[in-house]
């Protein structure tokens, strides 16, 4: 049956492990921050007047003596997971630490930590430690990973944006002053049309983002606007640990959406070209996903992709669009004024 065959192919398909590796680093750093947050939260549980929510009585309770052991275990596991050392075991240990947090007391539930647990679980199942990791370096090479956990990971990111938008589709958010209470900056401007625009805009943007991340046409703009969205949240609401962790988890997870087939693009450059000589060594160092083949030939800087070839400044921005350190802001270089300035900059190098 063709459907069964397609299903078998889907679950047998493999891909490079590096995009998940990049996501692993971002999620791991967030998990480290959230370990410290957990220590702070659990100290509050020990207050003599704390209302305890022991909802699963058979789970051993945490005590002040064991708190630092528990947090220490969490931190060690996170550091190993982030570095990609025994990443599967370390990932399972991080998930176990997060599950324990939720089981020990009902008041320990918190959405950012829940998301961190889910993403860590998917990265562990997806064998994210095979790419961009100490394990890969020790083995002297990287192995391909199954594609379906990567797909599930991407769906999870989209679902969070989609449900975040759905949860806001009610009058309390759209028509009341709730957004003013959450974002004091908007409240300070005190202009009702702006408040409505911010509320409806937030909902519309989150719906758009959940789909645009999958679209080749809009993906770069989704990366840029998503990055700006999370940065704006930090500036508007505050640099809280949860929001910082959310921002790091989401922006690093965008890397999973990059179509990163190793050596699938060819970059042609010439050593005599001043621009290429200045920038290509840096770009090569930043090509952590190893998407490009770098070949010296005569002629202008050129990148060849599965959709065609681009030259000059456009080639430069096309390369930046898939590098983990630059993909989330590279779309800004496509804005008309910046692009015009960039092309002049490029031509200036070439004389």
């Amino acid at each position: 049956m063709p459907t069964l065959g397609a299903m078998r192919d889907f679950f047998a398909a493999q891909t490079g492990g590096r995009p998940l590796g990049v996501a692993r680093v971002g999620v791991g750093m967030s998990a480290l921050l959230l370990a410290l947050v957990t220590r702070r939260d659990m100290l509050l549980l020990f207050a003599p007047d704390a209302v305890r929510g022991r909802w699963i009585p058979w789970v051993p309770d945490i005590s002040p003596d064991w708190l630092d052991v528990y947090i220490g275990l969490w931190i060690v596991a996170v550091v190993l997971f982030t570095a990609g050392m025994f990443a599967r075991w370390a990932g399972m240990a991080v998930v176990a630490c997060i599950v324990y947090r939720f089981m020990v007391d009902q008041s320990m539930y918190w959405a950012p930590i829940y998301l961190c647990g889910l993403l860590t679980l998917l990265l562990t199942i997806g064998n994210s430690g095979t790419g961009f990791s100490v394990d890969a370096w020790r083995r002297g090479g990287e192995q391909p990973v199954p594609r379906w956990p990567l797909t599930l990971y991407k769906i999870q990111i989209s679902l969070v944006y989609l449900f975040a938008a759905l949860e806001k589709m009610h009058s309390n958010f759209l028509l009341s002053d709730f957004i003013v209470q959450s974002v004091p900056l908007i409240g300070m401007l005190d202009w009702p049309p702006l408040i409505r625009l911010a509320a409806f805009g937030t909902v519309g943007f989150e719906v758009w983002l959940s789909f645009a991340l999958w679209s080749r046409r809009f993906q770069r703009w989704a990366f840029l606007l998503g990055f700006l969205f999370h940065t704006a949240i930090l500036f508007c609401i505050g640099f809280y640990a949860a929001l910082l962790a959310y921002a790091a988890m989401f922006v690093s997870s965008y890397a999973a959406f990059i179509e990163a087939v190793p050596e699938s693009r060819r970059v042609v450059w010439q050593r005599d070209d001043l621009f290429a000589r200045r920038w290509i060594p840096l770009l090569r160092r930043l090509d952590w996903l190893k998407i490009h083949r770098w070949e010296e030939e005569t002629g202008e800087l050129r990148v060849e992709t599965d959709t065609g070839a681009l030259t000059g400044w456009r080639a430069f921005t096309e390369i930046l669009a898939v590098l983990p350190a630059t993909f989330f802001w590279s779309a800004a270089l496509e804005l008309p004024l910046i692009r015009h300035a960039g092309e002049r900059f490029y031509r200036g190098y070439r004389g």
Partner: protein, 126 residues
């Protein structure tokens, strides 16, 4: 890929997806407490205040108790702090029994949202 591994992977994939659509949908439809959903800063519950009443058989007046801030502090009407909550817990399951425990002799305790009528009442054991 061996067939059992394909079946295992397919089961996990579908199960995970089902749970991750079902639980946030429940939260969205307000059938759950908002846990396991993605409603941070959505203001969905729209609760501006949670308060309690403690009734004693021996006293004519009830004791009013309110929650403030995050982490939540539980304060009696005279300004005395009587408890704290780290984050969201089921008020019915945990705070009402706590108020009974910390107020010996109370007959019953009640829970209100947004200064409405008492929505949940719990008799305290003597």
């Amino acid at each position: 890929m061996p067939p059992f591994k394909t079946i295992l992977a397919a089961t996990f994939f579908c199960g995970y997806l089902a749970v991750q659509i079902f639980l946030p949908s429940l939260s969205w439809l307000s059938l759950s407490s908002g846990r396991w959903g993605w409603g941070m800063y959505a203001g969905r519950r729209g609760l501006s205040s949670i308060s309690y009443e403690i009734h004693f058989p021996s006293r004519p007046a009830k004791v009013a108790v309110e929650e403030y801030g995050t982490p939540v502090t539980i304060i009696e009407s005279e300004g005395k702090r009587i408890g704290s909550i780290v984050s969201t817990v089921s008020r019915r399951q945990f705070v009402l029994p706590y108020l009974c425990r910390t107020h010996p002799g109370a007959e019953w305790v009640g829970l209100r949202f947004d200064a409405q009528e008492v929505v949940d009442k719990m008799a305290c054991r003597p």
